[in-house]
Symmetry: D3
Subunit: 247 residues, 6 copies
C-alpha cells in the first residue's frame, strides 16, 4: 500500500520538497505526484479553480492503475482545493493539508495561530476554518506576504521572514501553537518549533500520519450521498478523458 | 451595456431555455453563453470542479473582447460554481443564481423552502446557505430526484413531479416561499407560483434583476483583497491560454 | 403601479431629499409619504417605537385607497422600524432600507463597512445584521456622530465629515464596500463612491430597485403565518382608527 | 419603593389577573397599570407595535410622578414589546416577562419547553430566545392555539386545553421544565406544576422576584450608550405629550 | 428552610467573607460550608477538578441530614465547579455563582465586562459564557492578576488594584456593567459600584437572591434525564462513602 | 517511549479489554492503567466528577516516575473526564477518546452518527461536540441503553443490541460513518464496520494512532496559559499527596 500525495500546482521543485518531507514522516511508501495543468503556484480563487481538474486527473489515473495499491490521497496545498470532488472520485480516504493541520493543531494546543503566504489567500483559510469546525480553536490568521514561489527552495532570508511573522502571530494572538499555511513551508516546521518553543504544525506531515492512522484503523469511506462516485455522463473539452467508461 | 449569463454545463438546450427566461426578465440586453468544457450537467462536486475552468474561459473572453460592454455576469447553475474565481477575473459584478435567488427569497418570504434536483447536491446548497447568511431564512432543503438533464426540455410529467415536491416542501416546512434549485426550472417559477399561492423564486431571473439593479445604482466592485485580479504567473496544460499576458 | 416610500420620521425636508433620490433610481412611479406622528428624527429605541404607529397608519391608508395601485413599500429609515408589523398589514412586498442596503452590499463587496449617524443607534444596526444573516458580511459598524437632523439639507461640511468617517472605516476594517446608515445620506452615495473608489451603497435607492425587481418577477408575499393580516380586534386610544372594520 | 407592572394591552380583566398574581409573588408593593392605547390583546407584530407608545406613556408618567418611588418596571406581555425603548426612558431596571421567564427557566431546568397562545406569535418568541441567549436552553416552542382573550378569566376548559398542550410539549421535547408564554396564564403555573411534576415557570412572577432581587442588590442601570435617555427633540401627533420638556 | 452556600476551596477565611456577604443579601437563613478536600484556592482546571468531590461530599451530607431543610445550594467559586454533578445529587435547585452573576448582569446592563483573578482562569469563564448563552451579553473578559488568596482579607491595596482593572475594562469594552469574577470579591461590589457609576454584580449575592426567588416561586427541579439521581454503583477509594446505600 | 492509557473507572476487566484493543492499534508500547478511586463505571456527571482525581493521581505518578518515558496520555472514557486538568499536569500530549474519535470520524465521513450507552450521558457528548467544533459533522447522537458494565465482557447479545442501534442511527441520520460512544465498545468497531459497510470509529484506537502521530511529528504542548502546570499551593484531604513539592 502507498500513500499518494498530490501537489496541485505545477512546480516540480515544490513537489520535491513536499515529497522529501512527507517521506520523513511516513512509516510506509509515499508516491509524490505533480499536476500537469494549471498555475505554477496557488494564491487565489482562480489559481485554485484552474488547478483542480489537473488534481482530479491524477486521482483518476491512480484509481485506474491496477499496479498501485493506494491507501489514501493527500492534497498538498493549504487551500485544500478540490477536496470534495476528490472524495467523490477516490475509493480511499482523501485529506486536505489544511484539514489535517487544523485538526492536529487543535489536539496539541489550546488556540493556534496560522501563518500563511499572501493576504489575498486569507479568506480561503477563513472559510476552511468554518468548514472544519475550527473557528474557536484558531486564535488568528496571518500573512507573511511571501509568495508561494519563494518557498520552492531553502533560503535563510525566507526562514527569517517566516520566523518573524510567527513570533508576531504568537504575541498578538496569545496562542500556544502555530500552523504553517503553505506546503512549501513543510520542512521548516521542526526548526521553527525548536526556536519558538511552541508546537509548529505542518499540514503535509500531519496529513501523512493521519492517512496512515486511517489505514491502520482499517477505516475507508462509505461512498454514500455526496461522496458517491460521480454520475456517468458525457464530459466535453479539455477533460473529456475523465468521462466514465460507462457514460 | 449587456448582461452576460453563462451556463457552466455544456448543454445547449439548457442554455436556450435559460436565455429565453432571462430575456423575459431583463430590461436590457442579455448575452447567453455556454461553456465548452466539462460535464453535460452539474450534479456533484466533481461535475462542478470540471465545469469551472470552462466558465472562467468564457469570462476571460468577454473581458478581452472590446466589442462587448458587459454590465455583469450571472453564473446559471444553482451550485454557484466558480463564483469566487470569477469575481477575481471580472471587472464588473458577478452573481451566482443561488446567491441571487436566496437573497430575493428572503425579501419576499419569512422562511422559504428550496426544491432542487438530486439529493447528492444538497450539501452544496447547504454550504451556500451558510456562506450567504441564509441558514435561518431557509426552512428546508429538498430534492425532487429529477436529474438536471430531464429539465432541458418542457414536459408535463416533469412539471407535475416538481409541483408535487414543492407542495410537500411547503407542507413539511410550514414555509411561505419556494426557491427553485436548478437553472433548468427557470421558466416554471411563474406557473408554480400561480398554482401554489406562494412566491416561487427562480435564481436566473432574480440574478438578472439584481445585476440590472447594481448597474442602475452604478455599483461596481473595488477589486481589492481576494477580489483583485489573479496574479500574473505561468499556467500550464489545458488552460495555458488563460495566462495573463504580463506573466 | 407605484412604489410607496415612507419616511417614518416627521421631517418634510428629509422626505423631499429621500423622494428625489428614490425617483432618480426608479423606473416607475414613486409616491413619497411622511409620517404624521412621532419624533422629527429617529436616533434610538424610543424614537423608533413612537414612529411606528404613524408609519403603519400611512400603510393602512394606502391599503384602503382604491385609487392607488401599490407595488411595494419601502421604510426609509436605517433602523427598519416597524418592518414586521408593516408586513402583516400590507398585501404587497415591504422592505426596510437597511435590509435592502445590506443585501445589496453583500452582492458587490466581500465585506462592507457601515457608517451611520450617532453611536447610540449602533446596537439597532447590529441587531439587524443578525436578523438578515449579514454578520459575516459586515466588516465593521461605525458612527460619524452627525445627528440625523444635520442631514436634512446638503452641506459641504457635512459631506466632508461623512467622507472622513468612511475613509477611516475602510482603513480600519480592510473592507471593500461601504453602506450608508441613514436615509438622509441617500444622495451622497455616488459622490462618495467616486471619491473613495469602492462601491458605496445607499439603502433607499437599493430598496427602490429591489422592490421594482420583485414587481418585475411577479413576486408577492403569501400572507401566511406571522405575515397574515392582523387579527380583527378592538384598538383603543390614539390609533383606534386602525381597527379593522370587521372587528 | 414599589414595583410597577404594566399590561401593554388594554384589557382591564387581564390586568387584574396579572396584578393579583404579581402581588402573591412580591415581598413589597406592586403598582399595576394598564395601557390606554392599542389593541385589547397582543397577538402579532402590529398588535405589539400599536401597544408600545401606550406602554411608554405609562412609564413616562411614572417617571414624572414624584409621589411614586419606583424600584423597577415589568412589561407583562410575553413578546416583551417596547423593552429597549422602555429602558431608555426609565431610570430604574425594566424587565420583560419573557426575558424574566426564560432566564429563570434556565436556572431550574436543563431544557425547557415554551407553550404560548397562537402559532402566529411563535416567531416573536423565537427572536427573543436568540436575543437573550436562550436558543440552546429552550427545547421547543409550542402554540396551544388559545387566543389571549380566552385567558382573561379563569375557566376549567381553558385549563385543560393548556394542560394538554403542556403535556405534549414535555413529551415531544423530552424537556424538564415548562415556560408559560402569556401573561394571562400567570396564575395557572402552580397548578400545572403540581400536576405535571416539572417546574412550570411564569414570566410575571419570575419578573417580580427578579426585579426585587435587583433592588435588594442595589443594582440600577448606568444610562449609557443605547440606554441613555432619549434625545430631546420635537414629537408630533398623537404622542406629542411625550416630548421632553427641554426639547 | 435554609440556603446552603458551599465554598469549594478549603480556605476558612474566604468562607467567612462569603458567608457574611451572603447573609446581608438573604431574606432567610444561610448555612455556609467549606470543603474539606482540595486546594486552598481554585485557579485552574486541576484545582477545580480536585475540589469537586469535596463539594459533592458536602451536598451529600446535607441531603442525608434530616435536621436540615435546604431550599437550594450555591457553589461559591466563579468557575462553577461541579455544577452538573451537584444537580444530579441535590433534590433542590443548585446554582453556580458565575451562572447567577451572568444572568443578573444581563438583566441590568446591555453589555457587561467581567474582571476576574488570574489570566489562566479566563478560558474557564469563556466556556461558561457559552454554556449559559451569555457570549453576546459579555463585552470582555479581564484578569486583574490578583491571586485568589489575596482576596481572603480586606485590604485597600487590593481594592485599588481591582478598581483600576474595572475602570480599564469599562473603558476598553465600552460596557455598562461589571461582573466580579471571584467569590473573594463579593463584598466589594457595592463600593465599586458607587465609585464607578455602573452596576457592579457579584455572583454570590446574585445567587442568594435567585435561589430565594426560586423558593418563593415554588420551583424545584424535575430530576429527569441528566439531572436524575446518580445511578447506584460501587465507588472505590477516597470517596467510597459517597456510594448510594442501595448500590 | 510508551503511551499511557488510563481507564478512569475502576473496573479492571474493562481496562483489560481497552488495553488489548489499544495494543493492536499501536506501533509502540502501551502502558494500561486503571484508576483506584471512583465509580465502577461512568454514566453521569457525578460519576465523572468522582473519577477525575483518581485519573489525575495516575498522571501525577507517571510524571514523577523517572523509569517511564511517556509519549502521551489517553483518557479512555467517552466523556473525556478531566481532560483540561490532565493537560495542566502532563508535560506531553493528552487526548480524550471522544476528542480523538470525533476528529477521526470527521476525516473519513461527511456526517457521522454517535451511538453511546445510556441516554443520561447524551448531554455530555453534546457538550463535547461543541467544544471540539464537531456540531455540524455529527448527524445524530443515540443511546443504545446498554449500561457500561454490560460492555466489560464480550457477548453476542450485547453485540446484536449495539448493531441494531447502529443500524437505526445510520438510517435515521442518513449518515455515512459511526462513532462508538464507550471505551467498552473498542474491540467491536471492526466487526460492526464489516457488517454495516460504513467506517465505524472507536475513540480508543483513534486516540492511540493520534498520539503516535503527535510523537512522530515531534509535537509537544507549550505549557502556556491555561495549560501551564498547576500553581503550587496546599491541597487538603483525600488528595493532599498531589500537592506540588514546592508548595
Amino acid at each position: 500500500m502507498t500513500l499518494v500525495i498530490i501537489n496541485p500546482n505545477t512546480s516540480t521543485p515544490m513537489s520535491e520538497r513536499i515529497g522529501a518531507s512527507a517521506r520523513r514522516a511516513a512509516h510506509g511508501d509515499v508516491h509524490m505526484l505533480t499536476s500537469r495543468h494549471g498555475p505554477a503556484s496557488l494564491e487565489g480563487h482562480m489559481d485554485e479553480a484552474l488547478a483542480v481538474p489537473g488534481l482530479l486527473e491524477r486521482i483518476h489515473e491512480c484509481e485506474q492503475d491496477d499496479s498501485l495499491a493506494v491507501s489514501g490521497y493527500l492534497i498538498a496545498c493549504f487551500g485544500d482545493p478540490g477536496l470534495a470532488a476528490a472524495r467523490e472520485l477516490a475509493s480511499v480516504p482523501v485529506l486536505g493539508m489544511a484539514e489535517a493541520g487544523m485538526h492536529m493543531a487543535s489536539l496539541v494546543s489550546a488556540r493556534y495561530s496560522i501563518v500563511t503566504t499572501l493576504a489575498r489567500t486569507l479568506p480561503i483559510a477563513e472559510r476552511l476554518l468554518g468548514e472544519y469546525g475550527q473557528r474557536e480553536h484558531c486564535a488568528g490568521l496571518h500573512a507573511c506576504e511571501l509568495p508561494v514561489a519563494a518557498l520552492e527552495e531553502e533560503s535563510d532570508a525566507i526562514y527569517r521572514t517566516l520566523l518573524e511573522a510567527c513570533r508576531q502571530a504568537l504575541d498578538s494572538d496569545a496562542s500556544d501553537g502555530l500552523l504553517l499555511g503553505c506546503a512549501g513551508m513543510t520542512d521548516l516546521a521542526t526548526r521553527l518549533g525548536d526556536t519558538l518553543g511552541v508546537p509548529v504544525i505542518d499540514g503535509v506531515t500531519a496529513g501523512v500520519t493521519l492517512l496512515e492512522s486511517l489505514e491502520r484503523l482499517g477505516l475507508t469511506p462509505a461512498k454514500h450521498h455526496d461522496r458517491a462516485l460521480p454520475l456517468a455522463k458525457p464530459i466535453a473539452g479539455a477533460f473529456a478523458h475523465l468521462t466514465r467508461s460507462d457514460a
